[in-house]
């Protein structure tokens, strides 16, 4: 085990890690189980977290790579009492069925909207091309996420 220091959801952390453990293993071992393990091979996006402002698949990222970096997980985005606009929009649209893919969609969309609040359809298409949903058929997810752009009709929620 060896110690790394990084910022997680706004708080400085010093955690012991194994050299070969992945970031998803570390997060879930520490009780942060909102980051979901779907494929474990970088294909589905359900494990997406934000590292230094960019969406990253935590299943194909080693824990040691976050040393000195800033990490945001779904636990830092909002909660039941204070949901993030993306969470409200997804719930209101009925865009969640089993919900397994939802944290990944939120993190990927948030990374884009943090960087480009007026993201357009083409941006969403491009940035969400790594997120799979096995339940909904995507239409409602797409509508909900798009409604959070300041470019959407009626503006951001």
């Amino acid at each position: 085990m060896k110690q790394i220091t990084f910022t997680l959801n706004g708080r400085k952390r010093q955690w012991d890690i194994a050299p070969d453990e992945t970031l998803i293993d570390l997060l879930r071992r520490q009780g942060l189980t909102g980051t979901k393990r779907g494929c474990d091979t970088g294909m589905c996006g359900s494990c997406a977290v934000i590292i230094d402002g960019r969406a990253v698949n935590a299943c194909i990222y080693y824990a040691f790579q976050v040393d000195g970096r800033t990490v945001e997980t779904i636990e830092g985005v909002g909660d039941f009492d204070r949901p993030h606009p993306l969470q409200t929009a997804l719930a209101d649209a009925g865009a969640v069925q089993c919900g397994f893919c939802t944290p990944g969609f939120i993190m990927t969309a948030k990374a884009l909207l943090d960087r480009k609040p007026n993201a357009e359809d083409a941006d969403f298409r491009q940035h969400l091309d790594g997120n799979l949903c096995r339940c909904t058929g995507y239409v409602k997810i797409e509508q909900a996420i798009r409604s959070c752009s300041t470019a959407a009709e009626g503006g951001a929620q």
Partner: protein
């Protein structure tokens, strides 16, 4: 994945190189780590994180760009400048969370039949910069002749990739044939072309995925030089040069179909490059 027993986080090229030399064959440079799902190595290794060495800028040179080796594919996608074409390639590279971490250097050191980035680099005649005891430059044609990691000795790092900017009268075409975003390519083609007086003055055609290693199609290029850029000239040059390829279909497609697919896509990309060279690109 790899069997890492330790990791190091150097802050400069000199520090990284010293570490890698000291560790010898135990050293395993890690840029984005996205290739590691495909690597199986049981021997104990020490990961050397090379993502913080200041090798992630794209600098403008008089005739092109010098791309730091740890620039991510997402950086290539976001960069926009005159004559820059790699954003078109980057957009077709897997998915956004992978583009955000996968580096250009990491994409060309271990080459698979389905590797995307060697193909445009071959068509652009890019030059790779390697820092070792002796710093050297290797042109794409030599770099990709065999597995590129053979060019690296213990402690060597790929530090930059030089690509030319498209000048006026020049065009570029790129197509990756895939079914889903995480699907590997079935056939990828990159074409660079220079037109003069409505004739092909120079052209480079590179193919991947339908062949075991990405390569140039020199017989096709030769057959095109001096010709007018027309459908019939493109078709006959491509047909004349097809036997040069060692066609090998991936993911259940036959070798014959791989060859056919390549012939169709090369003609399409010759047109795309022509349109851009003439200033007609959309």
């Amino acid at each position: 994945m790899m069997n890492y027993v330790d990791f190091k986080t150097p802050a400069s090229v000199a520090e990284a190189r010293a570490l890698m030399k000291e560790l010898g064959p135990q050293a395993s440079p890690v840029a984005g780590s996205t290739l590691h799902v495909f690597l199986r190595d049981e021997s104990p290794k020490v990961a050397v994180d090379i993502s913080r060495l200041g090798l992630n800028s794209i600098d403008t040179l008089p005739d092109g760009y010098r791309i730091g080796a740890t620039s991510t594919v997402g950086d290539l996608q976001d960069f926009h400048a005159p004559g820059w074409v790699l954003d078109r390639v980057a957009r077709e590279f897997v998915t956004q969370p992978i583009r955000n971490v996968a580096t250009l250097g990491g994409s060309i050191i271990r080459v698979f039949p389905w590797s995307d980035l060697p193909i445009p680099l071959l068509a652009l005649d890019a030059v790779m910069e390697i820092e070792g005891d002796e710093t050297r430059r290797i042109a794409a044609g030599d770099f990709f002749k065999s597995q590129p990691f053979h060019h690296l000795q213990s402690g060597d790092l790929l530090t930059a990739i030089h690509v030319p900017a498209l000048a006026s009268g020049q065009g570029f075409g790129y197509h990756k044939e895939r079914r889903t975003t995480t699907d590997f390519s079935r056939c990828s083609v990159a074409v660079w072309m220079a037109l003069e007086d409505d004739r092909v003055a120079d052209v480079r055609i590179a193919i991947g995925a339908a062949v075991p290693m990405p390569c140039r199609m020199k017989a096709m290029e030769q057959a095109l030089k001096g010709k007018k850029p027309t459908q019939s000239n493109f078709e006959s040059a491509v047909q004349a040069g097809l036997d040069e390829g060692h066609w090998k279909g991936l993911h259940g497609i036959s070798n014959e179909y791989a060859r056919h697919l390549a012939s169709v896509i090369v003609v399409d990309m010759l047109h795309a490059a022509t349109d851009e060279a003439k200033g007609d690109a959309v």
